[in-house]
């Protein structure tokens, strides 16, 4: 089906996706809207910097990261308070100048609570972003496409995966060309013995 297209990866391996490069973010946005109207959902856009409106056009849900951070921060409050109060009041009450150690002396425990809450919140934010973004993942079938592997910082790329129910290489190639895409390429998986990511 995709014989007339340039091929990346190993020709004998199954087709993974069809990739295309757009010159402007507007063209990419236009393509996304068209793909959605065609009912295609297994596609992904790759941009060198965040494009306003792209996630909305792709109908991506709001990131759940803020809730994770809230959860991380809230549990940090509990962890920090128990870490301070259990030794101070039960295991090892260290009375200095006769000052109280129980909850009536809450202000003296706040500094560590705040510091730990912020630290665990930040750790949740970074590791949450990494995991939600599908990282770390050092190999990717798309790296077989040399243009993408080298020029990802210089263009706006789109890849439509072959697993999509409405996937048709010939139809999509024409569609992508109509939408002004350049470098439309059939990306096959690489042969197992060849190293990934080269």
């Amino acid at each position: 089906m995709s014989n007339h297209l340039p091929i990346a990866g190993s020709k004998d391996e199954p087709l993974h996706a069809i990739g295309a490069r757009f010159k402007t973010p507007e063209a990419l946005l236009g393509a996304v809207e068209r793909l959605r109207s065609e009912g295609i959902s297994a596609y992904e856009c790759f941009t060198p910097y965040p494009i306003h409106g792209l996630a909305e056009a792709m109908k991506l849900p709001k990131s759940i990261l803020s809730f994770l951070v809230l959860g991380g921060g809230a549990s940090a409050i509990l962890i920090a308070l128990s870490m301070e109060l259990i030794p101070s009041t039960l295991i090892y009450p260290l009375v200095v100048d006769g000052k109280p150690l129980n909850l009536s002396a809450l202000p003296q425990y706040i500094a560590i609570v705040v510091a730990l809450t912020l630290m665990i919140g930040a750790i949740t934010a970074v590791f949450g972003m990494i995991l939600l973004g599908g990282m770390p993942r050092w190999n990717n079938p798309l790296f077989a496409w040399d243009l993408f592997a080298k020029e990802a910082s210089r263009g706006f790329f789109l890849a439509i995966e072959a697993r999509d129910k409405k996937f048709s290489a010939a139809g999509l190639t024409d569609l992508l060309h109509d939408l002004g895409a350049g470098d439309v390429t059939a990306i096959h998986l690489e042969a197992p013995e060849s190293p990934q990511g080269t």
Binding site: L65, P87, L101, A115
Partner: protein, 472 residues
């Protein structure tokens, strides 16, 4: 004839708009591809000779500092000049100096990001790096000043066979948590912001080693719309958390002094005092680091524009004025308290045997930042560089004045004794400068010194037409 007024009003509108328009982020209408090339070329080019010379010098200083620390550990804290009653001297002075310098980096990147001050985009990465390295330098001191370094784990609440726990009511323990959190969060903020840019270096890498190293560091970033969505959310969250953390950490460090009952320290203004001093010295440090970089790499002159440096100078001026206000207010407080010890401490500070610390500090910090009221001064970059270094010297003396002049003259005149640094004190402090510059030189050479993705997203014409107007 009837068209003439229309033309005039259009011209006038255009003129007014040009006055209102924000100064360009990158000069000469450079596009996103140029930005990528300009920033990456610093990392990808051949290692310049000056870099080898500089890292040899700073590495030598760092090694000397390390040797001094080792000498101190095997001999004991007696090798330092700190002695009764001045148990805290250069160790805590340098700790406060470095940790304060770190604050401006976080503030510039986090708070200015949250308030959408786009002018800070090109300097924020370097400022964050400065933060991380300054905290590392600061962290050296609390660990070693306890004397028996092998007991440093006592600071952490670790269940142990002695059944002993730290004193959670002590600001010194709060410090442990504050500095640990600060180092963790600022390193994460710095690294996470760098992931997309490291991926660019991975894609552009020409050698296998570089491709492997940047490939591992960039965690497989592809720049998918989903990744950007989470990334942008993370960046806002981290900026928010970091902004709060900066204030918390300064407050906790200030509490080390303020919660004691020592005259000259026991003041509620201390957290604010430390905060403004921190941003003041940090802004000066940002200028000290960026101006030579701009000189060495010509392409950076278009990325770090005079108008952005002008704004850092204004920040320095504002914070310098706040610092001046605090000095005056502190003196007023001492007088108004009618407490003879409080009054005595300040009288001693300015007339005693170590008055020159206070005089150096005040004569620099009250005058130098005020020069930045003048545009001619702000635009003369060599002068800005010298003044920025002076500001940091002034701030070091401020920390020194606060720590030592207070301790050397406390309640009991019979125990009053001046502090004199030893050669180990001086070499260790110089060593931390070496550590700082070594790390900064490695940073310049191996990672992108600017956030390329943020810069590119903010350039005119890089966003789809319907959202080019600033929507937020």
């Amino acid at each position: 004839m009837s068209t003439a007024p229309t033309i005039t009003s259009t011209e006038q509108d255009a003129h007014e708009l040009s006055i209102l328009a924000r100064p360009p982020q990158v000069l000469n209408n450079r596009g996103p591809l140029w930005v990528t090339d300009a920033v990456c070329s610093i990392v990808e080019g051949k290692t310049p000779l000056w870099w080898y010379a500089a890292i040899t010098l700073s590495g030598g200083l760092a090694a000397m500092g390390g040797a001094c620390i080792l000498y101190m550990i095997v001999t004991g804290v007696g090798v330092w000049g700190s002695n009764s009653p001045c148990f805290w001297a250069w160790d805590i002075t340098n700790f406060i100096f470095w940790v304060s310098m770190a604050h401006a980096g976080s503030l510039i990147s986090a708070l200015l990001f949250l308030t959408r001050q786009k002018w800070s985009l090109s300097i924020s990465r370097a400022a964050e790096a400065m933060t991380v390295f300054a905290i590392i330098c600061a962290g050296v001191y609390p660990a070693i000043h306890i004397g028996r370094v092998w007991f440093v784990w006592f600071l952490f609440p670790v269940p142990n066979s002695y059944g002993m726990w730290p004193n959670f009511s002590s600001p010194l323990l709060w410090d442990v948590f504050a500095v640990t959190s600060y180092l963790t969060v600022s390193s994460l903020f710095w690294f996470a912001g760098m992931i997309p840019d490291l991926a660019i270096l991975r894609d552009r890498a020409t050698t296998k080693v570089r491709k492997f190293a940047y490939g591992i560091a960039s965690l497989g970033w592809l720049g998918t719309a989903r990744q950007w969505r989470h990334y942008e959310m993370m960046y806002v969250l981290l900026a928010g958390l970091t902004s709060v953390l900066v204030v918390t950490v300064t407050t906790i460090v200030a509490s080390d002094c303020a919660t004691s009952v020592v005259p000259g320290w026991h003041a509620t203004i201390f957290p604010f005092y430390f905060m403004v001093g921190a941003v003041y010295s940090g802004s000066a440090a940002v200028l000290t680091l960026l101006l030579p970089l701009r000189l060495i790499y010509p392409q950076l002159r278009e990325l770090i524009t005079p108008s952005q440096l002008d704004k850092v100078c204004k920040l320095l001026l504002m914070m310098g004025s706040c610092v001046a206000y605090v000095y005056v207010f502190e003196l007023f407080n001492a007088w108004y308290s009618a407490n003879p010890f409080e009054r005595g401490a300040f009288w001693e500070r300015f007339t005693g045997s170590s008055a020159w610390y206070a005089i150096t500090c005040l004569s620099i910090n009250l005058t130098v930042p005020q020069l930045f009221w003048f545009k001619a001064v702000r635009r003369c970059l060599p002068l800005v560089f010298i003044l920025a270094i002076l500001c940091n010297v002034g701030m070091w003396f401020e920390r020194f004045m606060i720590v030592t002049s207070t301790l050397t003259h406390d309640f009991l005149p019979s125990s009053w004794k001046d502090f004199h640094p030893t050669i180990v004190d001086i070499l260790t402090a110089t060593g931390t400068l070496g550590i700082f510059f070594t790390l900064f030189l490695l940073f310049i050479r191996f990672v992108p010194i600017m956030s390329m993705n943020e810069l590119k997203a903010a350039l005119p014409g890089t966003q789809p037409l319907h959202s080019t107007e600033e929507s937020h």
